[in-house]
Symmetry: C2
């Protein structure tokens, strides 16, 4: 049992290793003063309400604030009936899998996809089916093929879990054309889409394409959002956007009928933080911070990687995805890297149906710039060492 601050330093590798392990935000960027003011505002304005079991759908104040945020950021006109407060995007995905998937159903995921979402889905009696992506995101033709094959063999498909924007782990963003093709396919095939959209606010270059939720006019898409990447994961707050009957089903789940709404206390704290106007300037500061680190990582990779190594150029989010040339594997590079003082997750857990041996996920979010250069220099040495 270790405090997370220590875990961040060790990251599963040898003691003292420089960790490129987690997909975490930078604790040094937490807006402590503004959050503390939001806690004070909560005490002044929302007691005892913030200490009660809240309405199952979530704090009404935060529902309204999320509607305003989506309208301001994306021009989305939402009503509160289209929003559900979750105890983080993970809890939202968990609840969706419980209510949308029946035993034996297939759940489609990207290859690669977020490894802990794969772990979460594996706790359910569903079968995971992986569909590859490329630099434009999920390959929609491959999805159609897999969907038809599953249905042809009599396997119902509960939903597709996709991370179209600044994907975890690949850093890839699904192109606007692919998004439209995916939504068209989903509507034709009556396939539910679960759109994990937790990195949308962290865009360092260009613009973010419209969400699948927006393109689908809100129909048959469950879009997950989170304050964990932009505000603080310890508050455990995220949300789901969906059509009103789907939101009503989430709120009427047995879990929420028993427990009430997700985290009433911290929901009011976050609502007051947003209401005071702190979110937008805070996100702007985060974007500047993380953009500099992304730039540093891309510069460091260009300077240190041996020939044959390739990597993605993310326009946002937390991750660069690196591919080793054959016959190298990430596990042998990891051993050499840990011997030299850095650690990272090798690629296999990101692939639900095998593969990933030559991939490495590299977060740049919580490592400062000098350590990014130092870490990539060590990674380059490790790759060269195992290449001999």
């Amino acid at each position: 049992m270790v405090e997370q601050a220590t875990a961040l330093q060790t990251g599963g590798g040898p003691p003292g290793a420089l960790s490129f392990y987690y997909g975490h935000p930078d604790p040094a960027a937490f807006p402590l003063a503004e959050l503390r003011a939001a806690v004070d505002a909560t005490w002044q304005r929302h007691f005892p309400t913030a200490l009660l079991y809240g309405p199952e759908q979530g704090s009404p104040l935060l529902l309204d604030i999320l509607c305003q945020k989506m309208r301001h950021d994306e021009g989305l006109k939402l009503s509160p009936e289209q929003v559900f407060i979750a105890a983080g995007a993970s809890q939202g995905l968990d609840l969706i899998c419980r209510l949308w998937a029946r035993p034996g159903d297939a759940v489609l995921v990207e290859a690669p996809s977020y490894h802990e979402a794969i772990a979460l889905l594996r706790d359910y009696p569903v079968r995971l089916a992986a569909v590859p992506l490329d630099d434009e995101g999920l390959i929609v033709d491959a999805l159609a093929e897999r969907l038809h094959a599953l249905r042809a063999e009599g396997t119902p498909v509960a939903f597709l879990y996709t991370i179209p924007t600044f994907q975890n782990p690949s850093g890839v963003t699904m192109s606007a054309a692919r998004r439209q093709a995916l939504v068209t396919l989903a509507q034709t095939e009556k396939l539910w889409l679960v759109e994990d959209d937790v990195y949308r606010d962290l865009c360092y270059e260009g613009t973010v394409p419209p969400s699948l939720f927006e393109l689908a006019g809100g129909q048959s898409v469950l879009r997950l959002g989170s304050f964990s990447k932009t505000l603080a994961p310890g508050l455990r707050l995220g949300w789901v956007l969906a059509e009103p009957p789907a939101i009503a089903r989430l709120a009427d789940s047995g879990l929420h009928r028993s427990a009430g709404g997700a985290n009433p206390f911290t929901a009011y704290v976050v609502a007051e933080f947003c209401r005071a106007g702190h979110l937008e300037p805070h996100v702007a500061r985060l974007v500047a911070r993380y953009r500099a680190r992304r730039d540093a990582m891309l510069e460091a990779l260009a300077a240190t990687m041996p020939p044959g190594v390739t990597w993605t150029r993310p326009r946002g989010g937390f991750f660069v995805w690196l591919t080793l040339p054959e016959p190298l594997t990430a596990r042998e590079v990891l051993a050499a890297a840990e011997a030299r003082g850095i650690t990272f997750p090798p690629g296999e857990p990101f692939f639900a149906e095998g593969g990933g041996e030559r991939h490495i996920r590299l977060p740049f979010s919580y490592v400062d710039t000098p350590d990014i250069f130092r870490g990539m220099d060590i990674l380059g040495q490790a790759i060269r060492a195992v290449s001999r």
Copy 2:
């Protein structure tokens, strides 16, 4: 969408109705000043840790404090490896059902049992099998019979969900002899027990028998606790006690691998509240408050109920359970009661396999004494009105 404070007043009945609907604590008893001091202590001592993804098992400080609490209150010698922090007892039960039950399994529940736990379990592909209780709690012989019948027909049994202490909804406490018989049966039959123990601290008379967890030496029992009844539900914190491999399985769930530990921020707030020594005197005040209300409800019932109506005498917890004489039903009484200005939940949702038509659950926790007398007077009138 309504604020919960309003919901408490309306309680699902007609606007302005006096509500005996929810199993909620009294918001007027929240220890606001002490909680606010605990928030301040959290800012001073646990930042940024309290805003990070915490360790999957939960905040180490709160794990230690729970070990101390069980040792002080019950003489239980626990190690932190036997404790898991959950986002409320409901989330603990939810995670247990996910990990312990396979599709098609039976889950045994008491008849009656907590209706929202029944709703929660029904979101899983399990079959609920109800076993009756009497004034000494779950009838262990009936449990043995049902267990054998299920297994004889080839249905695996995932676990028994039981609320042995100050049961919701019946107010009944399982006797020490029944507890021992239950634990013996469970060990012989290799049956997992999920012991919902959220009312243990709220004892108004006599002593609380040892928990099933204690009697079983911690083996094959998952015991749920909560700060929702004694501190504040809006903090969303509870815990699970179990043997270390079971705790490790909960912590290694995909949900917690993705989300980290349950509610790090409020976990530190609760830990600081407890560390400052506030919990014990606060619970003592709650016990005095709720004991007076229980006494008032029992006095009011004795004064107002027509012949033939019976009710339980809870030694703790939140609820009195009332039984109407045949041929009256709770639903016809409810209609007459709502016409006169009170509301309550009729009994059917508390029975997983039917029944409950003649039962009424009456919480005394969040209704003040004058309203308890007024409400029971109205209830007596309503019963008389439909008896004619």
